[in-house]
């Protein structure tokens, strides 16, 4: 529940504190890597089983997509489920039971994650150490292999926020922020002990980052200042998702999704 609800800007300024609520249990063999919300339900990628499963909020399996060669950090936008297939360098689009190939004017090598906002597509191109940003069919490459500011080292996830691109610069242990021309604007998380930054999710107040190897989720405000560190009941987090005042965290080393709610 919001403490301040009379003005939108108050909601934006509010610093939320999150508390562990529960775990959603998944089928025993499932190892959830990434989550996407689709209406009242979720899809999660289960690369160990070469599949995606659709579940309700209690974890009950509703549907599946199989024979995907390591589905990674998925996205859902306007009725379409976007699935990067790591081993085949493909990105698939699932809509109304039909599968098609995403029209991308650059070839990724091991696509790890993506974000689609209208006609803007951003792809974390893991082995090429860059982000492919495609706007109305026009491609810009963001970053190149390296460890300096503006360079990337095995990017795993990417999110478009306004006119900025946030990249989970996984093995540089940081989040990097770029503009649409690829200009590096900011580095976040380097001083916070991140050890493999693998996913980013935004809410009104800021964003969450998975600190994969430390089994933590870090909560930042929109300026990139650390607000809270979540550790309870998190086991090797590989994705985060905000939805309806809830925070969902995938536990890749077990068959569960952890749910946090505002304290």
């Amino acid at each position: 529940m919001l403490l301040f609800s009379c003005k939108e800007e108050k909601e934006d300024e509010e610093v939320k504190e999150w508390a562990f609520k529960s775990k959603i249990e998944l089928p025993a063999e499932a190892r959830p890597l990434a989550l996407a919300k689709t209406g009242d339900d979720f899809w999660f990628s289960d690369p160990e089983q070469f599949r995606l499963l659709k579940i309700d909020s209690s974890g009950k399996v509703l549907d599946s997509i199989v024979d995907i060669k390591r589905p990674m950090n998925i996205d859902f936008n306007k009725g379409k489920l976007y699935v990067p297939e790591f081993l085949t360098d493909s990105i698939w689009v699932f809509e109304d039971g039909k599968k098609s190939s995403l029209s991308l004017n650059a070839k990724p090598e091991a696509p790890a994650g993506l974000n689609v906002k209208g006609d803007t597509i951003a792809v974390a191109d893991f082995y090429k150490h860059r982000v492919i940003l495609q706007i109305k069919g026009q491609v810009t490459f963001i970053g190149k292999e390296g460890h300096d500011n503006g360079e990337l080292y095995y990017p795993i996830d990417v999110k478009i926020k306004g006119d900025k691109v946030y990249v989970a610069d996984a093995y540089n242990n940081r989040i990097q922020v770029f503009d649409f021309d690829g200009k590096a604007l900011n580095v976040i998380g380097k001083e916070d002990g991140l050890n493999v930054a693998s996913a980013i999710a935004f809410n009104k107040n800021g964003f969450a980052v998975t600190d994969q190897e430390n089994s933590r989720v870090l909560i930042y405000d929109l300026d990139g200042t650390l607000q809270q560190t979540l550790i309870a009941n998190i086991n090797y987090p590989t994705d985060v998702l905000f939805d309806d005042n809830k925070l969902y965290i995938t536990n890749f080393k077990e068959n569960s999704i952890t749910l946090y709610t505002p304290k």
Binding site: L33, P47, R70, M72, L87, A110, A112, F126, V196, S198
Partner: protein, 89 residues
């Protein structure tokens, strides 16, 4: 040195298990899988993230060199450990 396919111990066939450090991260593990699949003669790969091993099945009648396997592992950013030949059954 001339390599004799009949006797050279660096040529691998059948099933082999490779120990690889740092396989816990799924992105890295699947990256290794991707690299090893590129080796001509590799028919199947099973990556065990928990055990930190890769089990390679080499196609019948094919042999691959140990150095090629080690090189591919290094290309994926890992240090190869022990390579063990499994029994054929």
């Amino acid at each position: 040195m001339t390599i004799n396919a009949q006797t050279d111990k660096s040529l691998l066939e059948g099933k082999i298990t490779i120990e690889v450090d740092g396989l816990a991260c799924p992105y890295c593990a699947y990256g290794l899988e991707k690299n090893l699949k590129e080796i001509d003669g590799v028919e199947g790969i099973e990556i065990d993230i928990n055990e930190g091993t890769a089990l390679l099945t080499i196609a019948k009648g094919k042999q691959i060199s140990e150095s090629t396997v080690r090189e591919k592992i290094k290309e994926a950013g890992f240090t190869p450990g022990t390579i063990k030949k499994e029994s054929d059954e």
